[in-house]
Symmetry: C2
Subunit: 413 residues, 2 copies
């Protein structure tokens, strides 16, 4: 029998794994540039934390991988990287603002579908301890720089305020129905205005006023309130960071997670693929047992970014990182091939040699199948002359070169 | 209430997480240089795979995090990175040899103790499809290069052969008791010769002959057999790679996992801290449903390497990757501080600014608490003159410089 990865999960074979790593490297370098520091937390947390109020509550059990350990401790695979951060911050005394990044997996017991997995990679940045919208914009700015560097040109960050939403909807919806209304609005992209209207009716809410609000396209048309004020400030700071054109006010943006308290964001790529989001969660850390402390953050979904980049041929990377395959023409040249491979590696040149006792032709075939760009040919004549043929596998051209010349060519690549 | 990480797991706060990342970066670059390619697999696997014969069998349930998903699928967090590799190889047709690396977490339901966690990081390399001991030596050589680069000078790789063990012990122990004897020998480091002797007696095995074999220090004293032959060949290839002095024949090395079939390795640092191991497992891939295919690999335990390096002050890294903190002398200078931070980042200089609305003194305190090496001071006079004070936080010295000069200083660092 053959085994498969568990439902909703997937393997990334070398070609895709290398691509994902490129994405992660760019995230890491930008995050570091902005002063975010890494934090590593366990893959699973106590269920008590995951279900904490301010997080998702008890209902989270349906949405996560829940299990007990052998001492009956209730645990769950983390569904995001914010709850673990809140736990760490609530129980340690790191200097504030605490700017942390993390690039790691999370797990949700969702229905697997296109672009939706049960295990997926997130790259998160958060600023804890600062209530200033400067922090939100720093996060947004880092995210924009990453997307720019990856080559995206047409991404947008939909932006809204929970406070503004609350304020607008309290005028037209009974308070106890507001959360229901938000949950329905959250589905707007999926089910459209008609769908939202139908679901509102089912909940006994007159859809007319709600739909009218959802169609407000500009912040100017909103009457003054705290939410409008904070969005105005956010856009003004964004201008100073040069990212204002990426932000788009969208009154229909709710964001699923219940811990958001103020500004919220959703990042979408070209054809409306959401690839992340976040917002401000000023009450969460106190709710999991810490001091009262403001916090904000954004998360990128790296699997979706990977898939969109693949679809649009946005990767310029080679199939393999190996630069040269050292081929021995026969068994007698094996020791020299070892020596040369060793020397290349001592000069930090990514290289491979035959490990299969294959004949020369088969070695070339292997190098070809991995798309290794160069083959260095080692035989008794070459060793005697101290000159080796370097074969360009794309053009087929060969050059006779000394080992030093070869090293210098690859060091310059 | 405050939440803790689940029993046996730990958080790595920024200082330690950065150190672990340095270790991972070195692993990644060496692995890549040797031609290993990344592979990413899920954190959990079907229990059927994890308990597959050739792996640990049904007994594995006691040693792993076992759980069922909401459709009653039996799953388990992976206990190593070899079983997932075997699964991938058995169900795909990648060119052989398939040289893969992976740096990721694994989970074992062990008793947590010093240097032993339930969640820990491994860096693995494996060569699948090659039966040549060249592959084993390539893995060993990469491991040696990593430990060299990390600054270890006194590490050893204990080396043995399962075949040799089998051959020697079949002469003196009844066949049905051999696995028991191996399990007892595996504890030699923990319980010493006397302990091993006692446990052997309890199993009804006369310890004299067994202990005599365990005291054989040299391969020369072993009579000819397949195991001796392969070890001889291994040492001879290791010599060509220049790593023979690191390998130490140790007839008492058994290695816990049952899938090993031939040479086995255990890497130990200075004071006998094991930080990894591996060996050849030529039967595993067929046993999980693939073609019959030889394979070998080694795994490093990164948590232990981290701890030993910390204990011995082997890290030369700064506490933070941030190079400069842009401090504004008052509120009016904030916009200029934003501009300057933006410019520094555009020049790839890791920088931070105040996000808290703090006064100048408090900003310096924050930069100090993070050990950021330089502070760039922005005030109205500086902005007018287009010259800024750059304060070296270690020496306290200040220099008046233009922004271009500052950029050029940091670009050279």
């Amino acid at each position: 029998m053959k085994f498969q990865p568990p439902k909703g999960t997937r393997d990334l074979l070398p070609e895709d794994a290398s691509k994902l790593q490129k994405i992660m490297e760019i995230c890491r370098s930008v995050f570091t540039k902005y002063g975010f520091e890494p934090l590593i937390t366990p893959a699973f947390e106590s269920f008590e934390l995951l279900s904490a109020k301010g997080g998702l509550g008890e209902a989270v059990k349906d949405e996560i991988y829940y299990f007990k350990d052998k001492s009956d401790r209730e645990l769950g695979l983390r569904f995001d990287l914010t709850m673990p951060l809140a736990r760490v911050v609530s129980s340690t005394s790191l200097p504030k603002p605490f700017k942390r990044y993390v690039i790691d997996k999370v797990w949700r017991y969702d229905n697997p579908q296109s672009m939706r997995w049960r295990e997926f990679w997130q790259a998160d940045i958060d600023v804890v301890g600062s209530g200033s919208l400067l922090s939100d914009v720093e996060c947004l700015s880092a995210i924009c720089e990453i997307l720019d560097k990856l080559g995206f040109t047409d991404y947008k960050i939909r932006t809204n305020s929970r406070k503004l939403l609350q304020n607008e909807f309290e005028k037209i919806v009974a308070k106890e129905k507001i959360l229901d209304v938000f949950r329905i609005i959250d589905k707007l992209e999926k089910i459209g205005f008609d769908g939202v209207g139908d679901e509102l009716k089912n909940k006994g809410v007159d859809p007319t006023d709600v739909l009218n609000i959802l169609k407000i396209g500009s912040l100017d048309k909103i009457s003054d309130n705290d939410g409008k004020k904070e969005l105005g400030e956010l856009f003004s700071i964004a201008k100073k960071f040069g990212i204002e054109k990426r932000l788009k006010f969208d009154i229909s943006l709710v964001r699923g997670l219940e811990y958001y308290t103020s500004v919220v964001f959703e990042v979408s790529l070209g054809a409306n693929v959401s690839c992340g989001g976040g917002g401000r969660y000023d009450a969460l850390i106190e709710k999991v047992g810490g001091q009262s402390m403001p916090a904000t953050g954004i998360s990128l979904g790296l699997d979706r970014i990977l898939e969109v980049m693949k679809e649009n041929n946005m990767f310029k990377t080679e199939k393999t990182a190996t630069k040269v395959f050292v081929a021995n023409v026969d068994e007698n040249a094996l020791n020299d091939a070892i020596k040369i491979t060793k020397t290349l590696r001592e000069n930090d040149i990514n290289s491979q040699m035959d490990l299969m006792g294959r004949n020369f032709g088969k070695q070339l075939e292997y190098a070809n199948s991995l798309q290794i760009p160069y083959v260095l040919i080692v035989g008794p004549t070459e060793v005697k002359k101290k000159k080796f043929e370097l074969k360009d596998m794309k053009t087929g051209k060969q050059r006779e070169l000394s080992l030093n010349q070869i090293i210098s060519i690859f060091s310059k690549l």
